[in-house]
């Protein structure tokens, strides 16, 4: 074939390709627009029925549910996405009715079957649906999915367990579900590598809530540091004060620093005053900086006045982060803390230059930004007045206020 013929053939081919692609774009768009319009047209009149079911009150809701359950395949196909969308947004009777509707249409059973499908996307979609439905009976199967080969499936399963294992979930066997979900979630973090991202697991444990507390407490003694720190994080956010003693022990004695950091943070969230002594002990210079920072921050949150002295001593710590945290913690301790800061910054209390600068910065920032509560402002003014009074009595005194 001569070169020219080759070129011409190529040109013809290219032009045909461009035309074909352009037509393909137009066709794709037309099909999509028409399909969307048709789905909308079918779904529109059914929407009030769906809302009726979701609201879930009275005989109208049952009638509407029956009507939706009796729809033909095409009608159901158009309304199913909306049903699933609304399902994730309601609780209570409406949720129960919607799940019963899905069960009546075989969607729930289909999803349970799909949990063992060959395609990872189908397994994950099924898990997501069961989670959105808050379907407690599926907890065992979802727990099994945590050992799936595909990381995305494991992630979705972890997320779904949080909702399926939550106390408000739907279906029989609800008593066992939260405990089983918590156990499955915690065991997914065990081993060499976590099966699902730890913060997704933690979030799900949070959703499971108080029923997970016994499992979490037991997990504080697990051999893997990841399990311990996740358990500590969740216990702190759940406000499980019964765990305070165990957490205090871990803050001081756990071999892994990351775990100690989380335990300190959790104690701060629990706000149990008895934790203050353990937290104070965790601020010694021998401890790792991250642990000291977390402990100092938590001392501010716990709000125990006996920590004032400890925090004062840390204001000029060699670790900048620890000293900053100490200043912020004092601010958070309310009037006594602010008074101390004001005294330090005006050099009324004996302190090093670094401490003075830090205290001054924290107080002035808070005052300038107008985030200082009135009680704190009163303290600052009182200290200033005191300093001025002393200065007027001793003319040679230098005041840095």
């Amino acid at each position: 074939m001569s070169p020219l013929a080759l070129v011409t053939a190529g040109l013809v081919l290219v032009s045909a390709l461009v035309l074909a692609l352009a037509v393909a774009i137009a066709v794709v768009r037309a099909v999509r627009v028409r399909r969307a319009a048709r789905a909308r047209a079918v779904a529109e009149p059914l929407r009030p029925l769906l809302l009726e079911v979701a609201v879930g009150e009275g005989p109208e809701a049952d009638d509407a549910a029956a009507a939706l359950a009796a729809l033909d395949a095409a009608g159901w196909r158009s309304v199913e996405p909306a049903v699933l969308a609304v399902l994730g947004k309601v609780r209570g009777d409406g949720q129960r009715l919607l799940v019963e509707l899905l069960a009546a249409r075989g969607v729930v059973a289909g999803a349970r079957r799909d949990l063992t499908a060959r395609s990872a996307v189908r397994r994950a979609t099924a898990a997501e649906l069961l989670g959105a439905a808050g379907y407690a009976p599926a907890v065992a199967e979802l727990g099994a999915l945590l050992r799936d080969g595909d990381p995305e499936v494991r992630l979705v399963a972890a997320r779904a367990l949080g909702r399926a294992g939550a106390p408000g979930a739907v279906g029989s066997d609800v008593e066992e579900a939260p405990r089983d979900a918590a156990t499955a979630l915690l065991s997914s973090l065990a081993g060499d590598r976590p099966a699902a991202p730890p913060d997704v697991v933690a979030r799900s444990l949070l959703l499971v809530g108080a029923p997970a507390a016994p499992a979490l407490l037991a997990a504080l003694a697990a051999p893997e540091p990841l399990v311990r720190l996740t358990a500590a994080e969740v216990l702190g956010r759940l406000g499980a004060t019964a765990a305070a003693a165990a957490l205090e022990d871990l803050v001081l004695r756990d071999p892994v620093d990351a775990v100690r950091v989380r335990c300190a943070a959790a104690l701060g969230r629990l706000g149990v005053p008895s934790a203050a002594s353990a937290l104070r002990a965790a601020t010694t210079p021998a401890t790792a900086p991250a642990v000291r920072r977390a402990a100092v921050r938590s001392l501010g949150e716990v709000g125990d006045p006996s920590s004032l002295r400890c925090l004062w001593g840390l204001l000029d710590d060699a670790e900048g982060g620890v000293a900053d945290a100490a200043a912020t913690a004092l601010l958070g301790l309310g009037a006594p803390g602010v008074r101390l800061l004001a005294q330090v910054s005006s050099q009324g209390a004996s302190a090093s230059a670094a401490a003075v600068a830090r205290a001054h910065e924290v107080v002035t920032c808070a005052v300038a930004a107008e985030v200082m509560p009135p009680a704190g402002l009163a303290e600052v003014e009182a200290v200033l007045a005191d300093v001025l009074a002393r200065a007027s009595r001793t003319p040679a005194a230098e005041v840095a206020a």
Partner: protein
């Protein structure tokens, strides 16, 4: 006729709440974002606002703060309806001036009860 304003960027939530409130005998107005919510509240005739926190444009917290700042709407009852459930978020919501705080996923029946309670307190 008691009028309730529902502000949420999620169409499903708006329609759900509107449906339930209409069933309970209230007149309902909807707003898809913060700016529209403020305009509707300022326009008057609104007795209670059901407000979502995370909306594009102006967030629910900003709307609430704005309402509290203006004398005409300072006493307007506000119920926050949001997915954010942590203690910190609840505290922030109340600090911004909300009268009640409902967490998503929510029970429509419970929401109506709270609406009735808040309206009852506001009238007293």
């Amino acid at each position: 006729m008691t009028t309730v304003l529902v502000a949420d960027d999620d169409l499903d939530i708006r329609e759900l709440v509107a449906f339930k409130l209409a069933q309970a005998g209230y007149e309902v107005r909807s707003a898809p974002d913060g700016v529209a919510a403020l305009d509707a509240a300022r326009a008057g005739g609104v007795d209670l606002v059901v407000l979502d926190l995370m909306m594009p444009g102006l967030s629910g917290l900003d709307v609430c703060a704005e309402l509290r700042r203006e004398p005409a709407t300072a006493e307007l009852p506000v119920i926050m309806l949001t997915a954010r459930a942590q203690d910190q978020d609840v505290a922030t919501g109340f600090a911004a001036g909300a009268d009640d705080y409902v967490v998503k996923p929510f029970s429509p029946r419970e929401l109506v009860s709270r609406v009735q309670a808040v309206l009852g307190r506001a009238r007293a």
